[in-house]
Symmetry: C2
Subunit: 333 residues, 2 copies
């Protein structure tokens, strides 16, 4: 019997998840034992033409998604806190696993949702909220359990990094580089969240909660974007061997957490010095492993879908394993 | 009751594991529910002074390690295929989990050991065999299950990378750079395995088996070290914007695996261009995530111990989870 999933929102990310599922059925069947069926897609405009298999159930009504019998998991790829939060809460209450790419929602309601998911015996995947395809969430959750993480530094906004790279490498002004980012589809029409550091701050919040189990007083955290950096400053830094990088930084110092999100001119000795273009990267300082850096695509259709589908596969395997243990243990009864 | 472990071999890595366990008891207790006790250490020279807690059981006889009652896991940090293979086989047969840093052994006998471990219901951790603290093995095993990995490129030998970096950045000759590596403790007195590419080839074999489930005909694989590279070639490449990197490469092409291990002059567009010094790094090409690069310490006392202790924690949690499920399921009986 196919594993039934639904996709909430069919923009770039939602479509990436849909196509990713279609193109990776072989892997999914091998890992999960069954094919994955997209049993419903929630959209805003029902009339828009979409490249989906004939007969795919498309609706504008969330209740109809929730009513799908035997729904295993929901991929949420909507923008903004609402209606995402309401939808995810209802899915969890119904016993449905949830995979989200919604960083604004998760930075705000992550703890509530995780608590609720425990109560209802389901899992939440949120790898896609932070640094696109880079598996930083699950590296922290699963691969670094003995190490103490003492500092996280990240380039968490691809648009800002693209702009800074263009200003340096091709001597563009901020305005020209921003326009190029928009022309390439990297930046939103309203680029405020990206270039003013809000997007990076949101992701840092998620990483901080995960790595340190608490957050600093965000009202006091310095959050500065890249909009005020001039071409002259970038050129001057380069002449001296430095590069401006927009770095989200959180570190444990003397029993307290210190955070900042701002552009910094780093030397070639800094682990994020050579991260260029739209890539994201994170350097973890740890007690045993030393510095670990993960780098990859910070956004985009398939990179974001990658994070969501890997979450999905891990969650399904986990819940499958539990069931097998329970079943096999019950055999003697 | 403490979780009992033994350490086979007490060189740099064995000592790193011992100290790592002592310094991370809090983390281990939190994750595993119990303290971890080093119940035995296998050494060659019983008289050598070692900085271990008074009363620690130290022996030169493997049988005495194997006879420790209730031994949960063994950390193997011996050099060479034997006696490591015999020891690990016996541990597995006894129902003991095994964590190894021995790449020569694992490249040769990995498949046999994995098969044997399945038969005996135990786990093998081998993260430390490849790229030190960089969690490439478990990233491939656990974080990339839906993605198809199509190519792996790695800087897998820190000594070679250090030498190439010094030849470029400080204009040393190969001989001078090698001597510096030896003075810094990076290179063995006999550096053949490192500078002739054998060490990197060994690690590539392990990655290849894991990622592709099979290996190319290794007799036909080009394995070339860095010993023949001249200072002049390095300078010429740099003047043209290139850097020599010793790259272990394996890719799926037309249904066949193609591998090579050799120095390549790469441009700044290559994801491994800026990996310098003793670091290791691996770039994975994948079907959904695109290019993912992981970078960190490729060797050393604590980085290697990090990989082994993270393996240990994951294995213990896994086997603990199975037991809890079985127990909780049996309650109604």
């Amino acid at each position: 019997m196919a594993i039934k999933v639904a996709i909430l929102g069919y923009g770039t990310v939602g479509e990436g998840v849909y196509k990713g599922i279609q193109n990776h059925q072989e892997q999914l069947i091998e890992k999960l034992g069954d094919a994955v069926e997209v049993a419903g897609i929630l959209v805003r405009d029902p009339l828009k033409k979409r490249d989906v298999q004939p007969g795919t159930f498309i609706t504008t009504r969330f209740e109809e998604i929730l009513a799908i019998p035997g729904l295993h998991a929901v991929f949420e790829a909507i923008v903004g806190k609402e209606p995402g939060y309401t939808y995810l809460s209802q899915c969890i209450e119904k016993g449905c696993h949830v995979i989200t790419a919604n960083k604004v929602l998760f930075a705000k309601y992550g703890n509530e949702l995780l608590k609720k998911s425990k109560q209802h015996g389901v899992h939440i995947g949120y790898e896609a909220t932070t640094a696109g395809a880079v598996p930083i969430i699950r590296t922290l959750q699963e691969l670094l359990k003995v190490n103490r993480v003492t500092r996280i530094q990240g380039i968490l906004n691809g648009t800002s990094n693209f702009i800074l790279t263009e200003m340096r490498a091709n001597r563009l002004s901020f305005g020209e580089a921003l326009k190029l980012a928009q022309d390439n589809g990297y930046a939103e029409a309203n680029p405020e969240n990206d270039v003013e550091g809000k997007d990076a701050a949101c992701k840092l919040k998620i990483l901080c909660q995960l790595a340190f189990g608490c957050t600093p007083d965000w009202e006091e955290v310095e959050v500065e974007g890249i909009a005020a950096i001039t071409s002259g400053e970038v050129q001057k830094a380069e002449a001296e061997g430095f590069r401006y990088k927009h770095i989200a930084d959180i570190r444990a110092e003397g029993g307290k957490l210190k955070a900042s999100v701002k552009p910094i001119a780093v030397s070639s000795a800094h682990p994020l010095f050579s991260v260029e273009g739209v890539d994201n990267a994170i350097t973890l300082e740890t007690s045993l492993a030393g510095n670990l850096t993960l780098q990859g695509a910070g956004a985009g259709k398939f990179p974001t879908a990658s994070a969501m589908l890997e979450d999905f596969s891990a969650i399904l395997e986990k819940s499958l394993r539990t069931k097998i243990h329970l079943l096999s243990a019950r055999v003697p009864v």
